[in-house]
Symmetry: C2
């Protein structure tokens, strides 16, 4: 059924090696032969066998994307971005869910590499910060790029956004609206972004000369129900916050639900903001003011770094954006 290089070389009237040269865009092929070969390839609708290429050559034309994230939206955007860049490069993508906290993560990654011989790996947060994983990749000399790493910044190329500045911007925006008691729901403890967003929140308070009140900060885990729990605690305070900043949209949705359940009107009685600008943010009522995290673009850029600058360590930082919607307003005069 499927044709081989041999078939192509027969039709084009050249050696197999020359066909191989054309396929790999190597130098030293004359224009004339290249055209002949390309015509033969098109005629047979020939596709080289990835397996044979891996076995014979050094490249596999495959990269792996390793992720462990419980937000389907986030994963989807990451996949889409990396995918788009891979298509351009003619490289296949192996998507690999995993568990960043698993003790066998390194072994799994090792197995993946042994089995598939991927040319490179893209790590998305929080796998970016699993020491075992990084060691395994380095031991094998596999190039890798990290998306939003939290630790060992200079250990590999990476793409990221400025979480600290984004949280600072959002907090400053709330302060500018007149809020003085601002609640904060922290993200999952595994993710370094959680710390950074918390730090940005504190920095903004500090710049504005507002005191940091630990009671206004609640832990969360990036999921809806932890947002609900945190919202309940914050709104039960004697002096409840007039605005709540959740470290992602899912948790903000939880806060919103708690407010509705208590018969509060958002944003009249309470302003709520999120982080990420997932699809969820605009599908809630009221639509959520949030930080647009350029997830898809980060993923696209990460794949680009992997292909372009295999050797040197490069960091690319992409801009974020405040998305102002209807969930925020000034505090009620009281």
């Amino acid at each position: 059924m499927a044709s081989t290089i041999k078939d192509v070389s027969a039709i084009a009237g050249v050696s197999m090696k020359t066909v191989s040269r054309v396929l790999n865009k190597e130098r030293y092929v004359s224009e004339k032969t290249r055209l002949r070969v390309e015509r033969a390839v098109a005629e047979l609708n020939f596709r080289p066998s990835v397996a044979a290429r891996i076995l014979a050559g050094k490249r596999s034309y495959q990269i792996a994307l390793i992720y462990d994230n419980h937000s389907p939206h986030y994963i989807h955007q990451i996949q889409t971005g990396v995918w788009a860049r891979c298509i351009e490069e003619g490289v296949r993508l192996l998507a690999q869910p995993s568990d960043a906290a698993s003790p066998i993560l390194a072994r799994e990654i090792g197995g993946l590499i042994d089995q598939t011989q991927v040319d490179g790996v893209i790590l998305s947060s929080p796998v970016t910060d699993a020491p075992g994983a990084l060691e395994e990749l380095e031991k094998r000399g596999i190039p890798y790029v990290r998306i939003s790493p939290g630790t060992d910044y200079d250990r590999s190329s990476s793409v990221s956004m400025d979480d600290v500045q984004a949280a600072d911007d959002m907090t400053s925006h709330l302060i500018a609206l007149g809020h003085r008691r601002i609640g904060f729901v922290v993200g999952h403890a595994n993710h370094t972004a959680s710390d950074q967003r918390l730090f940005g929140y504190r920095r903004a308070l500090d710049k504005a000369g507002l005191a940091f009140e630990p009671k206004y900060v609640r832990p969360g885990a990036f999921d809806f129900s932890s947002g609900e729990a945190a919202g309940d605690v914050l709104l039960d305070l004697a002096q409840p916050p007039t605005a709540i900043f959740a470290s992602n949209d899912d948790m903000a949705a939880g806060v919103l639900t708690v407010a509705h359940r208590r018969g509060m009107s958002v944003p009249r009685d309470l302003s709520v903001v999120g982080f990420d600008d997932t699809a969820l943010a605009s599908q809630l009522w009221p639509p959520l003011t949030t930080v647009r995290q350029p997830t898809r673009d980060l993923a696209y850029a990460a794949a680009g770094l992997l292909f372009d600058a295999a050797d040197e360590v490069v960091h690319r930082r992409l801009p974020h954006e405040l998305v102002l919607r209807a969930s925020t307003a000034g505090p009620r005069k009281s």
Copy 2:
């Protein structure tokens, strides 16, 4: 770095072929040798090269999942389900986004197969109903299983839920609550499930002796904004519906937003229901009454069919479930 069968055979003191036999669980290997080989494999942490296996053998230990769906939640569940089954089988999964309406879909699938030699393919709706794709797979003799196919039911094995019955159940539930004017938002025209859900709605009306009113049915596209548009039209009617059934949760979210925007209270002034029970459904306010579609289980079962019953055509139908939440109530007395 990575070890080979040769290394294993040297340690175990047997031939390469015997090691291969153990790896492939072939017959005619004595217990004793099998243990020796397994110990050597463990010692070297040996993983056979997928590439070499593909090249030499008939199997590739890889399957592909082809999808084209704009709901990240749905994709995520499909991926997770198929993935889980693949892990059990020790098979690698290639996830392949695609465009069901693209004229080059068949060529893309052909290319994928030529390049990667996948052992089988899982098609998720609506790629399930792309004639070119099915022909390509059959031409190449690649086994495939479809998830929720809409056409050519007996053409391949498949897993599905009963969309007609589910929509009937939900509509009957609304009627039982006392609703007589029930709006319906149809799904994307590409998906056969859209027709089936509409038919279930009509069948329930019919059984209850209620007339089918075309003006209460609006087209949609499975996304939030088409839900908003449909909701606006329905609520602008002189005799607006007292309940709206959207063919998926995203569109129900759109209807909910329109209702909020008009200052209506859900479910007091309007009941709203969705379909799928994605995470979104429980994160909205009020939480959405919906049909739980067992997406993850469908995907898991689909992979199972691919591995188990490669030859015969088997259909597996999984049960759905009405999830009653706070977005429904009886109509207001008027």
